[in-house]
């Protein structure tokens, strides 16, 4: 029996440290402590340590006993001579190429996950939610809005009815697969000064248009229909709940990635991600607006007038990556191109 590596043995029953040399005999591991017969354990029950550059090699023996190697190099040479190989994960960890590949994989998977994975998972989650959830959420938001931001509309009922009818007819004229089946209702409100000309789509199907917007587009009924179609698009795609689901999933993923260093660091990426998702939703709603206008027999270019009017009003524009909407030029170009199709 050739002497194997030397180290310190703890028998798991007392804290006493005893020097011990290891050896393998048949299918047993022996530890020779120098006093008395060597201790033996079945090799099968011994848990071998993974190779690391730093830290002690600790052999886990049955019954809670532990053997610490005096020299990691001596232990590694002995266990290699016994024919023991590193596990596949350890081999990956020790290879610089594998490490670089892992860095690339992590970056790619994270980007892909946040770009495609989260939206897909959010879609699946939202599909499981009944429409009543949307309505409940939308009702609460509307209540808050009615208290703080809205007053009864001053637009004449006939004009309101005309707008409703225009949207209704346009939606019914859509091809069957684009019609959407979510119920909607259109209400008008006088919004506070800071809201300005605005339109909102709430979860559950309530579309709100401010008086200021109606007045702004009084001479452009097609543009108004386009805006209504845009908001209707938000409802049909369930963007409200999608946004909430994506925020929750992305937030969870980001905080899982950043771990305990993290909630502060995860905040900025989370916000940027939310903005990106929001811009995606706005583009989808713009496509719905173009479809609605076409179904009503109008040109999508009518929306250009809307952006013209908006541009005339001084509005601060955030940089593109911090904005909830795509830049106005991009949206204007989309509708011009849609008109040519």
């Amino acid at each position: 029996m050739t002497a194997g590596p030397s180290g310190t043995l703890f028998d798991g029953l007392s804290a006493q440290a005893r020097p011990a040399t290891l050896a393998v005999q048949g299918d047993e591991l022996c530890a020779d402590t120098g006093d008395g017969a060597p201790l033996r354990w079945p090799l099968r029950q011994v848990h071998w340590p993974e190779r690391t550059r730093h830290g002690q090699r600790v052999l886990e023996l049955p019954g809670g006993a532990r053997w610490h190697a005096a020299s990691a190099a001596e232990f590694d040479a002995w266990s290699a001579a016994l024919g023991r190989r590193d596990g596949w994960v350890v081999r990956l960890q020790r290879s610089w190429r594998a490490t670089l590949a892992a860095v690339a994989a992590v970056l790619l998977l994270t980007a892909a996950g946040l770009h495609w994975g989260v939206p897909a998972a959010a879609q699946a989650l939202v599909a499981m939610l009944p429409a009543s959830v949307d309505e409940a959420v939308g009702d609460r938001v509307l209540q808050t809005l009615e208290q703080e931001w809205f007053k009864p509309s001053r637009i004449a009922p006939e004009r309101q009815a005309a707008a409703r009818q225009a949207l209704q007819q346009a939606v019914e004229a859509l091809p069957a697969d684009a019609r959407g089946h979510r119920p909607w209702r259109l209400i008008f409100r006088q919004g506070s000064q800071s809201l300005g000309p605005n339109a909102l789509a709430l979860p559950g199907g309530t579309l709100v248009v401010t008086d200021a917007l109606v007045e702004l587009l009084a001479d452009q009924p097609d543009a108004l229909l386009g805006v209504l179609g845009h908001e209707w698009g938000h409802v049909q795609h369930r963007h409200g709940m999608q946004g909430v689901a994506r925020a929750a999933l992305a937030g969870a993923a980001l905080s899982a990635l950043t771990g305990d260093m993290g909630t502060l660091l995860a905040a900025a990426p989370a916000v940027l991600l939310q903005m990106s998702y929001s811009r995606e939703f706005e583009r989808q709603a713009d496509e719905a607006a173009a479809a609605v206008l076409r179904a009503a027999g109008r040109s999508p270019a009518a929306m250009v007038a809307f952006f013209d009017k908006l541009g005339a009003i001084e509005r601060p524009e955030a940089p593109p990556f911090l904005s909830t909407h795509p830049p106005d030029e991009e949206r204007r170009r989309f509708f011009e191109q849609a008109a040519r199709r």
């Binding site: 804290a15 830290g55 002690q56 886990e60 490490t99 994989a105 959830v133 502060l264």
Partner: protein
């Protein structure tokens, strides 16, 4: 066993941390890649490997600690925690009532999970071949968490009771204002109660550690926690005030020099990013201060019959380390994380030592703990929950 005496210890066991940032980076990134590829299923195995490395690199008196938790058991706990988190997030979206119910459920089982997690972690940690233990009971966990309960229950209850629409008649309005006042008061009280809640939690944790027949006692009083809270509060106030002043001045300066009204040019964006970075660095530094002072307070008052832990972590060193970590993390899109973890672990561990008033070699394992009897350990192993506080 004789109680610990105030005279000089027989020996002082020094703590050394030999982990390396670059080695831990390789372990971390490979395991993270595997976890992502398996959509998170590999996480408990990654966690077990990380704990093994970190514990294995912690040498107390020249002998490494070891972690031997079974990753498959930790997998069970992992799935359980994820299901709970998902259910809670889902309930939040449905309605405030559902969110309230979900919160109450989490609060109801939280302390049990906490106790189980502590038992699991301790039972699978060894030094010199002897298993650690956690002697706290599940009931003790609930008792320790009780004040936090009251506050949370009060806030949730008021949240659930408050009507959706504003009350019409004056009586209901009065009742509602009373409820809002109580809610507001509770919200204000919560930070004031935090040191008390933390004291109870630490007393439960540090008062029940066991090893080789030793049992720890936690001797820090409530006053010391409030003292620390006051110092942290004072420092935060000063720092945040200075920061706000600094940012305010710089912002007005920028606005004065700035471009056309309403245009957000690249200069303003860069300025915004720099200010954000400054806030992040200051926040991490403050966190470092709290960590250092709390570690010293808690560990200097943790002692068993013959062993006394000492911690002398300088707050300034921790603050500057965390500030550096914040900058590096932002610069490397988070890839610096394992290096930061190792640096923090080294600083924290090497600031501690253990005074032994008895010859360690003479200590023997607690028979009951070593034989793994007792429903507590078994339940801990069934659940395998390791929340990792």
């Amino acid at each position: 066993m004789t109680p610990s005496t105030p005279d000089a210890p027989l020996r002082t066991l020094s703590v050394r941390f030999v982990g390396s940032g670059s080695e831990y980076f390789r372990i971390w990134i490979v395991n993270l890649a595997l976890s992502l590829v398996t959509l998170g299923l590999y996480l408990p195995f990654a966690r077990a490997r990380k704990l093994r490395y970190l514990y294995g690199c912690t040498e107390v008196d020249g002998h490494a600690m070891s972690f031997d938790g079974n990753p498959w058991v930790m997998f069970r706990g992992h799935v359980l925690v994820w299901l709970l988190a998902l259910a809670y997030a889902g309930a939040q979206q449905v309605s405030p009532l559902a969110a309230g119910v979900a919160l109450l459920v989490l609060v109801a089982i939280g302390p049990a999970l906490w106790c189980s997690s502590l038992r699991f972690r301790m039972a699978h940690t060894r030094w010199r071949g002897l298993r650690f233990g956690f002697a706290g009971s599940v009931g003790g966990a609930y008792a320790a968490a009780a004040p936090a309960y009251l506050v949370v229950a009060l806030m949730v209850g008021i949240g659930m009771l408050s009507p959706d629409s504003p009350a019409a008649d004056p009586k209901a309005k009065a009742a509602e204002s009373v409820m809002m006042a109580v809610l507001g008061l509770t919200a204000l009280l919560f930070p004031l109660l935090l040191p008390w809640i933390l004291h109870r939690a630490k007393r439960y944790q540090h008062g029940h550690y066991a090893w080789a027949g030793e049992r720890t006692r936690f001797s820090a009083g409530l006053g010391s926690f409030y003292g620390l809270a006051l110092r942290v509060g004072g420092l935060s106030f000063l720092v945040v005030g200075a920061l706000a002043l600094c940012i305010g001045l710089l912002t007005t300066l920028m606005a004065g020099l700035g471009g056309r009204q309403g245009q957000v040019g690249p200069g303003i964006v860069i300025f915004g990013v720099l200010m954000g970075l400054l806030v992040l660095v200051v926040q991490m530094a403050l966190k470092g201060y709290v960590t250092a002072r709390l570690q010293n307070l808690v560990w200097n008052h943790t002692a068993s019959q013959n062993l006394q832990v000492r911690s002398a972590l300088p707050a300034r060193a921790m603050m500057s380390l965390q500030a550096r970590n914040a900058l590096m993390l932002v610069g490397t899109v988070g890839l610096y994380l394992p290096f930061a973890t190792i640096a923090v672990a080294r600083l924290r561990l090497q600031a501690t030592a253990v005074d032994a008033h008895v010859d360690i070699d003479q200590l023997a394992g607690d028979a009951a703990a070593q034989s793994r009897e007792g429903a507590g350990d078994a339940a801990a192993d069934v659940l395998g929950v390791d929340i990792g506080l």
